[in-house]
Amino acid sequence: MSETLKVTVERPDAAVAILRTDGYINNTGGEEIAKQAYLLLGDGVSRLLLDLERTKIVNSIGISILIEILEKVLDQGGRLAFCRLTPTIEKTFQIMGLAQYARLYPSPEPALSWLRGEVD
């Protein structure tokens, strides 16, 4: 049994990018997200939104890769946000303290507003 994560990237404008995940975020899923995120960072896009609407489980290996992405985003003076997390994923991120460094939102719109600097 294998669940292959799909990641799609949308660039609503030059400042931000949305990465939408579909599937289980494990080690290989995390690496796929990282691959896309690092391409964006290399292009100078450092304000990233991870939309996890279609992800039901993130394991600790996947989370550790998200922490690596967070570190690189912060190193470039960027911002990282997540939206549409399941209650368990949100609780897990809170347990880990991820909410101190990234923002968690119920939907994309307020996340994008924060990423663009329109709100604090």
Partner: protein
């Protein structure tokens, strides 16, 4: 409504993504005891983490992880779902596990090590028995 005790045993191979097979059993028993959806998801993640720990650290000689699920009513009528994830590999000393924190991890090359913290945060009771003949991680969540 009182719940008759139900037990399920599952054996999964040490192989990528096999931990997901165990989550289906969590859902089935969780639904049976009418546990809420969010709590079922929390048990699922804890079981995933316990399986991954066994896969990566036990070096179990039979390349299998054994999982026992129990849904039952305990003392004072408290209904629970309990999962025992066990392997026959080399054990570890739980008292030596360093609990991670994010500020330290952000400065570290090693970002991993969150599994036990996640299990202990999501489940109501966690008991770890580990020695040279293997490890049991026994986790319980009340409905």
């Amino acid at each position: 409504m009182s719940f008759e005790r139900r037990e399920v045993r599952l054996t999964i191979p040490v192989a990528p993504d096999m931990e997901i097979a165990a989550t289906a059993q969590v859902a089935a028993l969780g639904d049976w005891i009418e546990m809420g959806r969010d709590k079922i998801d929390e048990v699922k993640l804890a079981v995933v983490e316990a399986c991954i720990n066994a896969f990566e650290h036990s070096h179990t000689p039979d390349h299998e992880v054994h999982i026992d699920f129990v849904a039952a009513e305990g003392g004072e009528g408290r209904v629970f779902l309990e999962v025992d994830v066990r392997d026959g590999g080399k054990g570890f000393d739980p008292s030596k596990v360093v609990h991670p924190d994010l500020p330290t991890k952000l400065k570290s090359d090693r970002k991993r090590g969150w599994g036990l913290k996640i299990i202990e945060s999501l489940m109501d009771d966690v008991r770890i028995e580990s020695g040279e003949h293997g490890t049991h991680i026994v986790m319980r969540k009340y409905r």
